[in-house]
């Protein structure tokens, strides 16, 4: 505590010096010492008084604060148990808040590392929930040619593909950017030059590519010689011309592309002209002086024309859907940020939950402080009696909670760092992206603000109650009763907050349980999912051979029961939908012709464990040249054919007619949350244009045991099937499914932790209050026993208190939970936010916890010895 003293102006020393010099001068003049001292005292007055006057002149705030701080530290050190508990409580509460805020800050608030990000604008189509969607290339051309209120505009397409440098192939993310990209974002190269409009033409003299700083480091060790090297993408060779700076990643925070290529060279012809190929993100820079609203107005007009044009090209019945599409220009300092929409709501719900956790911690702490204030009543009464101001005393008591909050906040920052790092790694799992959650000024300011708020919430009421106690002993009992009531109110508040947190926890855990229990229609256990890539594209003639060779090799791995492949992995998040015409079925005008579609290899249903209800699987007889066949799911057959057998009927899609040869039972397609949809499957050999082997997901069913044991050998097996084949990913199907419900797992885990924390804190609150009350009522309880009250009735006395508090807490908490639950609705599955069972479970857990917490104090009340009790005090 030396630093507290170092800045002390030592007013008293200074004044004493003056007085002593006066005395010495008088003595030097011949006065005797006693007389000199008397003279000096008369002239000088009271040193202590003058010292106060000087301190007033200096401004007292800092001085007083220092004194209070010293006093608070001394008091807290004297009760280390209380201090430790309080600091731990606050550290948990503040840490959880700062942690969730760090993640929100990192994924939603941080702007792109470009110049003046606040002037960036995203032009996008809008989903029904206002989520931005990519737009077609012709729309970008129109925007580029006509928008007035922007100073520059760029379009970007994205891909993940194999690039070859010096004979070594690697799978990387690539951004395909229009020529103005780096200019619009205002990014400067760290080496060489970046792409310019001159590079972004259909037939450039020398195709140019820009690499990221990360790729430069990883692949070239920052060698300046990387510039000028050739890089092959698909069948094209580019020359590396420059490197982007380390701080800059991409136009979207969830991507770290290694290579940036001119868009014109990577555009397919259908994308270049089609209004239905929504593959491009458009970002513009606002002209100085212009507003987002102006850009938006222009965008509305242009997009209106475009959808009109698109609708005219389509069939009558598809027009309303096309015309319903919306577009907008929005301010986008963080670029195109899917995180905001993927995790925004979960993070807000989590922020609310940790806010409640902190509130709970504060109310609990307020209870502890209140008990302490009651214990310190005598000291406070004496201070008031000798003239201390009440305001001054409140400040002193608040300083104590401020110290607690400050230390708790510092500890909280440590907890926050761990929590945020853990959470962001779950959010980013499976993505090659690094997002820093290191605290910046926003996190620091937020943490400081909630620490101060926590100090006030926890400290103000106890401090005010403490100084309300008066000197007159006659009024003392009255104030004790008041603080007793306040203590109960604080416990009820804790129970209510806990109830809200428990309802949340129960909702999210129930959601996860239900998602796991939902009938998927296939058996993921024991299945390994592998994806492959090709070092260089295969010729059309080689594709079927390589695909077959790979599947045969996979089947031949010892321990493999069966293997197959499909283009879209069920519950992998993807959906392939197509319009169909069904023999003998007439669609109504308002009826959708769209069904789920997939291309699968032989033994698909056997490998995934989906039973066939009729007909056969695809097999070797279904080749490119054989008659086109299809398998449909039960929902499909039931919908279109009813009770009539589906086998032998015909379906047409994209100009090809397929004969149905099998009916499979229903299975989930896009995700666990989605309802079963009508689905048709075609053989992977009969898919038009025969896609590369890398377009498929391969599934291997293990005869027994964990399928992940195949992974070590898989690289060799894949490479053995063909030298240009590479294993890309290999995960158990269970892991894939777990990942698909990542948000739900986060919510259930954190919700559960917060719920448990709430139970513990509430239990401590109840226990503390009851133990304190029983101790204080020892006298009364002793008298009751002496007068013949039964032990059971004393336990009943204590438990009645608990029952009233729990009843109040559950009631208030239920109302709050029911009113605020709507915000979590979209995160739930097969549950409403007011599910009665969930509320009952939460209330039950809370009641049980309260009873356990009350048990010890109640037993103490029952075991009071009347003789001892009467001698008490």
């Amino acid at each position: 505590m030396k630093w507290l003293r170092r800045r002390d102006p030592r007013v008293r020393d200074e004044l004493r010096y003056h007085r002593d010099r006066m005395i010495e001068d008088y003595v030097a003049e011949g006065m005797d010492r006693g007389e000199a001292e008397r003279r000096a005292f008369l002239e000088f007055g009271n040193v202590a008084h003058l010292e106060e006057a000087v301190r007033d002149a200096r401004g007292r705030w800092w001085d007083d604060f220092r004194l209070d701080l010293r006093y608070a530290l001394r008091t807290l050190r004297r009760s280390p148990g209380f201090s430790l508990a309080a600091i731990l409580l606050l550290a948990l509460g503040i840490g959880a808040n700062a942690g969730i805020f760090s993640v929100i800050n990192a994924v939603m608030l941080r702007p792109l590392a470009v110049s003046e990000p606040e002037r960036l604008i995203l032009v996008s189509r809008l989903a029904p929930d206002d989520r931005p969607l990519a737009v077609p290339f012709p729309f970008f051309e129109r925007l580029r040619d006509t928008l007035q209120s922007v100073s520059g505009i760029t379009a970007i397409g994205t891909a993940q593909q194999t690039v070859v440098v010096e004979g070594e192939d690697e799978l990387v993310d690539t951004d395909h950017v229009s020529g103005s990209y780096f200019d619009v974002l205002g990014v400067r190269p760290v080496a060489g030059r970046l792409l310019s409009p001159a590079d972004d033409v259909v037939a450039p003299e020398a195709p140019a590519a820009v690499i990221s700083d990360g790729y430069w480091q990883r692949r070239f060790g920052r060698d300046p010689g990387a510039i000028g090297k050739a890089i092959q993408v698909r069948d094209r060779v580019f020359t590396i011309v420059g490197v982007t700076p380390p701080a800059f990643q991409s136009f979207r925070p969830d991507r770290t592309p290694a290579v940036m290529l001119p868009l014109q060279l990577m555009l397919r012809d259908d994308e270049r002209n089609g209004l239905g190929w929504n593959n491009f993100v458009v970002i513009a820079r606002l002209e100085p002086g212009a507003t987002v609203a102006q850009v938006n107005a222009e965008v509305q007009t242009l997009y209106g024309h475009l959808v009109q044009l698109q609708a005219e090209r389509e069939r009558e019945k598809d027009r309303p859907a096309i015309l319903r599409q919306r577009a907008a220009a929005t301010a986008a300092p963080d670029g195109f940020n899917p995180f905001r929409y993927d995790y925004g709501r979960s993070l807000i719900v989590l922020m609310g939950s940790v806010g409640l956790v902190l509130l709970l911690a504060c109310v609990n702490l307020a209870g502890l402080l209140l008990a302490r204030a009651v214990a310190r009543q005598r000291e406070i009464a004496i201070r008031l009696a000798i003239g201390a101001g009440r305001g001054r005393l409140v400040r002193q008591l608040l300083t104590e909670s401020l110290v607690l909050a400050a230390i708790g906040g510092a500890g909280g920052l440590l907890i926050a760092g761990r929590l945020a790092a853990r959470l962001i790694s779950v959010i980013l799992s499976g993505r090659d992206v690094a997002i820093s959650v290191a605290p910046d000024w926003r996190v620091a300011a937020f943490t400081a603000a909630i620490a101060v708020a926590a100090c006030l919430v926890a400290g103000l009421v106890p401090a005010l109650t403490a100084v309300r106690s008066t000197v007159s002993p006659a009024l003392k009992t009255g104030s004790a009763r008041r603080s007793g009531r306040l203590g109960k109110a604080l416990v009820v508040a804790q129970l209510a907050i806990s109830m809200v947190l428990l309802v949340g926890a129960a909702l999210f855990i129930a959601t996860l349980v239900k998602l796991h229990a939902v009938d998927r229609g296939f058996d993921a256990g024991g299945v390994l999912v592998a994806t492959v890539r090709t070092a260089r594209p295969y010729s059309a003639a080689r594709i079927p051979l390589v695909k077959d060779a790979l599947l045969e090799r996979l089947k031949a791995v010892p321990g493999v029961q069966s293997a197959s492949a499909m283009q879209v992995l069920p519950v992998g998040g993807g959906l392939w939908a197509r319009d169909v015409q069904v023999e003998g079925y007439r669609f109504r005008d308002d009826e959708s012709e769209t069904v789920g579609f997939n291309a699968v290899a032989p033994a698909y249903f056997a490998t995934l464990g989906t039973p066939l209800l009729a007909g056969r699987e695809f097999d070797a007889r279904d080749t490119m040249a054989s008659p086109k066949v299809a398998i449909v799911n039960a929902r499909f057959a039931q919908y279109f054919f009813g009770a009539v057998p589906a086998i032998g009927r015909h379906i047409a899609s994209a100009g090809v007619t397929y004969e149905i040869v099998g009916v499979a039972s229903d299975a989930k397609y896009q995700g666990l949350r989605d309802a079963i949809i009508k689905t048709m499957y075609i053989p992977w050999t009969q898919r038009a244009g025969d896609p590369q082997p890398s377009a498929f997901n391969y599934v291997i069913r293990s005869a027994a045991g964990d399928p992940r044991r195949f992974v070590p050998d898989l690289r060799r097996v894949v490479n053995g099937a063909d030298p240009a084949l590479r294993l890309r990913t290999a995960r158990s199907y269970d892991d894939v499914i777990d990942e698909s419900i990542r948000t739900e797992r986060i919510m259930a885990t954190l919700g559960g932790v917060f719920g448990l924390l709430a139970l513990i804190v509430a239990a401590i609150g109840i226990f503390g209050l009851l133990a304190f009350q029983v101790a204080r009522r020892t006298n009364e309880l002793g008298v009751r026993i002496a007068l013949g009250a039964g032990r059971a009735s004393l336990v009943g006395l204590v438990l009645r208190d608990v029952a009233i508090m729990v009843g109040g807490g559950v009631a208030v908490g239920s109302v709050v939970a029911a009113m605020t639950g709507g915000i979590a609705r979209s995160l739930l599955f097969d549950l409403t936010p007011t599910d009665p069972l969930v509320f009952a479970a939460a209330a039950g857990a809370l009641t049980l916890t309260a009873l356990v917490a009350a048990w010890l104090p109640a037993r103490r009340a029952a075991n009071i010895d009347p003789l001892v009790a009467l001698r008490h005090e």
Binding site: E14, L15, Y17, H18, R21, E43, L50, A57, R58
Partner: protein, 113 residues
């Protein structure tokens, strides 16, 4: 907080401040010496009470017009020594000019017949 920039409402206090600033120009000097010096220079006309001297000194220090430091005094015991800051010097000039103007005007008024 009274400000010396408003001499009308705070003439006396403002006057004490300017006197202290003037004395402090003499270099590092402690409170006791300041009182002595004021008394000497004014030939015992100005008796400064400690009750106003020290609050004034600390107020000036807080405003940044003087700087204070503990150092050994002529008697060997530690005392708090004050020195003028650059800002203090500027203030002194301003207030001295103010005072001169004011006293000239007051004298002129009092001397009219």
């Amino acid at each position: 907080m009274p400000t010396p920039e408003s001499p009308r409402s705070d003439l006396l206090q403002g006057t004490l401040d300017v006197l202290i600033l003037k004395v402090v120009t003499l270099g590092p000097i402690h409170g006791y010496a300041i009182a002595q010096r004021l008394q000497q220079i004014s030939r015992d006309v100005l008796q400064v009470q400690q009750g106003s001297l020290y609050p004034a000194l600390h107020r000036l220090e807080k405003r940044g017009w003087v700087r204070a430091e503990w150092a050994a005094s002529e008697t060997g015991r530690d005392a708090r020594f004050y020195t003028l800051t650059r800002e203090g010097r500027r203030q002194l000039e301003d207030q001295r000019a103010n005072w001169m103007r004011l006293s000239t005007a007051v004298t002129a008024v009092l001397n009219t017949e």
